[in-house]
Symmetry: C2
Subunit: 389 residues, 2 copies
């Protein structure tokens, strides 16, 4: 038996291990200091009441002969897909029920969707980037090219017509930079994809954090997108479902004559047996009026922290992006080096994430997140201000 | 963008659609007749009390700040892996915690594990077979050869040393035939795999249905198996979790110097974010003393139906296998043709599954399942007996 040789081309990331290691050493040397973690990439507030109640009820139903459910539809229950359709429709984006596929999360979809594409395709990935896009393509042996995010373009690279790509990843609002494309920017990508017969994999995991009313939440708000884009969405950050596990994907029938849509159904019926009924009922509850209000309150709490971080950085003259339409704030390290800034910040008991871990273009930048409490975020910002001051 | 060309080599299965179609037509023509479905491949009894209570509690915890859980470990929570380890240990099979990987189900694992193997491997699949093994390899473009299950070998083919294979699927107790290997049979496969440096993918989804105490539940009960086998397990049939979604896989570190074990961790950390916390708590509850007793009671109910079917077939002189260590009964169609027997049985209002749908060798055979109620199964058997005269 031959193993997949592409795995040997994967780069090991020591980023989070190194962050943990340096933090632990500092904590041991300074037991008196309260350490505040602004590197957290996970939600911290509990799941909303509507979802919890739905989960309790669904678990109970599984124990009743009359309400018990066995295998569900591969593509997800209609009760949930109807709610997802309505969620889009509220923003004027219309989908057929058979264009919506429910899953256990965006990470499974972002990598699983690659099954549909030949290994002989060139993949375009922004840099800096969520490492999953790169690694899952390295595992398949696809050629990868990068679109350079820089301070000059606000970490929102636009297509370069000299570069030929077949599969394009866009994450907006972006992880790790927090930057979000406007309609004009996305239109350029859609036009490029249509011209090149490329497919855009649009990761909308953070769309619920958008506060600027002019920004698109979905790529389908852009004309022509249904001909070239697949959209991947998640309940993880929207509803605090990182441990509950639920996501969904839209594959329009207008894309490539409906072939990817049909292939995905075939793929899911072969390789997947649907998301948990209990979890789908929780997702349905999130997408009710009451549920959306409750998750909105949680997101507002995070965004208050994000605004505080962003305001502090502005006040101290530190260049940054994100934090307005995203729980992530991406800042230019005063002094230049990512790890030097990490150590400097650690000396005042605040932990963040060096940008170098997200790709070459991340060097010299730093990620802070809004997922800690307000009080901790406030204290961290006072320390940061003093440190820079 | 180029689509994956291998998808065009997939064969469409019209089996269940054709079954549904013929059944609907018959029902419309005979509204007075009660139709009994013994083609069901899904559990029908509700989830046990222990699991329901654990699910309710876990859903509630997700709503409490102090108990809330975000991203879980990629490989599954230790509380569940400890229980799985103990479940194996009770049968004398010892695993390290880091050899156990929790997932949302065996179907995801059976197909996902192929990521670790080069496309240039020859796959050996029994015939008749669970179609997922074939289809997921066709999607990757691997060469497939078959091991022939026949009445003569009791649908338990043994290795043919003239055939070279790199990846070997074994499902025991088998879907669709219900036949289960003894230790001697499995030992022959393990020896063959070790000799050929092949890997066995052992699908143990039905192990909990084994009643014959001499039969192995796990391939690791066979000496040498840790050097050549990956075992895939499921809560679906054991605990009625087909809609709850939970499975696990064992990848021994003794296999190929630990490479597949490490690669799978890398694969899961890139392409998966763990099974739902709520569902993992339900699985933990199943594997307690109380939980195992409760799911055992459900399985006993199904096995009472299986015994009834098997006894009826014996009494009427119909050759069959399965039904003793499996919820499936595989019978030789009196008259020969699978679809003719389907129609004949449908005339007395009983629906089963023609064996032809599970591969060439299934032609002339027929699958009945034990997942209906006892009363319905009894009535179906009375009708069958009368029909066969």
């Amino acid at each position: 038996m031959k193993l997949n040789p592409n795995y040997s081309n994967l780069k090991e990331s020591y980023l989070f291990a190194e962050v943990a290691d340096r933090t632990a050493k500092f904590a041991a040397a300074h037991p008196e200091m309260k350490i505040i973690k602004l590197g957290i990439g996970d939600v911290t507030l509990p799941v909303c009441r509507a979802a919890v109640e739905a989960g309790v009820k669904a678990a109970q139903q599984m124990g009743e002969q009359s309400a018990f459910r066995g295998y569900g539809p591969y593509e997800g229950y209609e009760f949930l897909r109807e709610k997802i359709r309505a969620y889009y429709a509220a923003r004027g984006v219309m989908h057929g029920l058979d264009e919506i596929f429910v899953s256990d999360g965006a990470k499974s979809d972002v990598s699983g969707i690659l099954d549909l594409f030949d290994r002989d395709n060139t993949v375009l990935v922004p840099n800096p980037v969520y490492p999953v896009y790169v690694d899952s393509n390295v595992m398949d042996g696809r050629k990868i090219v990068y679109a350079s995010g820089t301070e000059e373009n606000g970490f929102l690279p636009l297509p370069d017509r000299k570069v030929k790509a077949d599969i394009i990843y866009i994450c907006s609002p972006n992880n790790p930079t927090g930057a979000a494309y406007d309609k004009e920017g996305l239109k350029k990508w859609v036009d490029y994809a249509v011209e090149n017969k490329a497919v855009i994999l649009f990761d909308a995991a953070y769309e619920f954090f958008i506060s600027d009313k002019s920004l698109p939440h979905s790529i389908y708000e852009i004309e022509g997108a249904k001909q070239c884009a697949i959209e991947i969405c998640s309940f993880s950050k929207t509803a605090g479902f990182t441990g509950v596990r639920l996501g969904y994907m839209v594959i329009p029938k207008a894309l490539d004559g409906g072939k990817p849509n049909g292939m995905w159904f075939r793929r899911q019926s072969t390789k997947y047996n649907g998301a948990s009924y209990i979890v789908q009922r929780m997702g349905e509850a999130v997408l009710t009026e009451q549920g959306l209000k409750q998750v909105g309150e949680n997101v507002s709490k995070y965004m208050k922290n994000a605004a505080l971080i962003s305001d502090t950085l502005s006040k101290t003259g530190v260049w940054h992006t994100g934090g307005v339409n995203s729980p992530y704030i991406w800042l230019k390290c005063p002094g230049g080096d990512s790890w030097k800034f990490f150590d400097r910040l650690l000396c005042v008991g605040v932990v963040g994430t060096p940008g170098a871990g997200f790709g070459e273009n991340g060097e010299g930048y730093f990620r802070l997140t809004a997922f800690n409490t307000y009080d901790n975020t406030l204290e961290a910002m006072l320390r940061l201000e003093k440190m820079l001051g």
